[in-house]
């Protein structure tokens, strides 16, 4: 079917005020040939999910530094379920302790890339999991 670029929404929820990590991620995805919708700082989970729906993205990439990952990430996943969005890949990145990862995955986050992980690994993962883009 129709080949098209992978679409990713990069969001940075939470109240802490810098988005360098999210911007690095956004540029790396663009350089890998993806279309990146960048929504900037301090997004609520509701805003993120509504934007992701309207943009019909394949991937929702959430960057978190504030330590609120255990509430914010599951909330995003829950809102997506309520909207019956099932084919969207949700990945998290940033400062997330290893011991929290299994529980986040259980709750429906596809993968977590802790800070320091090279962006190429996230890109590989996205490409591997977005073959349905040829839908």
């Amino acid at each position: 079917m129709m080949d098209r670029p992978i679409r990713v929404l990069v969001a940075k929820p939470g109240l802490d005020g810098h988005d360098r990590g999210a911007k690095v991620m956004a540029r790396a995805f663009r350089d890998a040939g993806m279309e990146v919708i960048y929504t900037g700082l301090r997004q609520t989970p509701e805003q993120i999910v509504n934007a992701a729906i309207q943009e019909d993205v394949d991937v929702l990439a959430i960057s978190i530094l504030s330590g609120a990952h255990n509430t914010l990430l599951p909330r995003v996943v829950r809102l997506l379920k309520e909207e019956e969005i099932e084919d969207m890949l949700v990945i998290g990145g940033g400062v997330i302790p290893n011991e929290d990862i299994p529980r986040l995955k259980e709750q429906g986050i596809s993968e977590i890339f802790t800070s320091g992980t090279p962006t190429s690994i996230a890109i590989e993962y996205i490409k591997e999991n977005c073959r349905h883009v040829l839908r």
């Binding site: 129709m2 890998a32 279309e35 900037g40 805003q47 934007a51 729906i53 309207q54």
Partner: protein, 317 residues
């Protein structure tokens, strides 16, 4: 439920998916438009264009909020360039309108130019139709107004707002001819900064009022402070009224539709010719002869049309 039903039930997910299909030129979306075409044409389509960083997204956000206060529903299409090197893009206009994301009366979509010139124009046109079927009252299309494809897009809107800022006068002088002509309304945004009045005068001098019956107004705005936004909105509505009263709207739309149908016919004819690999092989053989100078391109074309038994199509054009 299929996409048509979901679109008619005002399901944003269906709108989003149909625009994705429009962007990748999926023929299935054409079938949807065919069935629901009668519902299109009622929205006021507004192009917001101008050089990078002049405040187009900020201004759009404020205009949309003013319309929401009147209870109007709005669709927004935000176009940003695709990187010619990687095929990727960063689409960052939503940053200026994040709190509209959760407004049920607003639908916002970012689109990348994706290289191919005519492709974007077509995809945007289809997206506008989908939003009209979704029954929004206003549609905003933000483009960075420098390239040909951006100019092509605003040709298809009802009202074009050219957004400039203090100091833009020099940029405009450097821009290609044709950029000034597309503006129905000029905004000098960031009028909180020095030089707004001078830029306003420069722009007014550049505008050729010669034979125009709509004199493009030049408005000073401070978008971040919501200053003069209501006034601008009034002018935007006045422009639509002007178009309707002078029947220019119908003329413009008729002309655009004619171009569209002609383009579609052209595309169909070309496609039907090269549908068969037989015809393509024939053409390639002729091209080889042109390469070796055994034939000239003109005779090759005539022979091709004869051999392909398409003389009729060729002559009719």
């Amino acid at each position: 439920m299929d996409l048509i039903e979901r679109l008619l039930n005002k399901d944003k997910r269906a709108v989003a998916r149909l625009i994705t299909m429009a962007e990748s030129h999926d023929p299935k979306v054409i079938e949807v438009i065919k069935k629901l075409y009668y519902k299109t044409g009622h929205a006021h389509v507004i192009g917001i264009t101008g050089p990078p960083g002049t405040g187009k997204s900020t201004l759009t956000d404020k205009l949309v909020k003013a319309l929401r206060k009147e209870g109007k529903s709005v669709g927004i299409i935000l176009v940003d360039p695709t990187s010619p090197f990687t095929g990727g893009a960063i689409l960052g206009d939503r940053i200026r309108m994040n709190d509209l994301s959760t407004d049920p009366g607003v639908f916002i979509r970012s689109m990348a130019t994706r290289g191919h010139l005519g492709g974007l124009t077509k995809a945007v046109k289809t997206a506008v139709r989908i939003l009209e079927i979704y029954e929004v009252d206003y549609i905003f299309i933000e483009t960075v107004g420098v390239g040909q494809s951006e100019i092509d897009i605003v040709r298809n809107v009802d009202t074009t707002v050219m957004v400039l800022m203090p100091g833009s006068g020099d940029d405009i002088q450097a821009l290609k001819a044709g950029v000034m002509e597309i503006g129905d309304i000029f905004v000098i945004n960031k009028a909180d900064r020095e030089g707004a009045q001078r830029t306003k005068l420069e722009i007014e001098m550049m505008l050729d009022y010669g034979n125009l019956d709509w004199r493009p107004p030049v408005e000073k705005i401070v978008a971040i402070e919501n200053k003069n936004i209501d006034k601008l909105l009034e002018i935007v509505k006045e422009h639509k009224n002007y178009l309707q009263q002078t029947r220019n709207l119908q003329k413009r739309r008729a002309q655009n539709l004619k171009h569209e149908v002609m383009d579609l016919i052209y595309q169909k004819v070309i496609d039907s010719i090269f549908d068969s690999s037989e015809n393509e092989k024939k053409m390639n053989r002729l091209v080889e002869k042109v390469m070796t100078k055994d034939m000239d391109p003109y005779s090759a074309t005539e022979l091709a049309l004869e051999e392909m038994d398409l003389k009729k199509i060729g002559h009719n054009k």
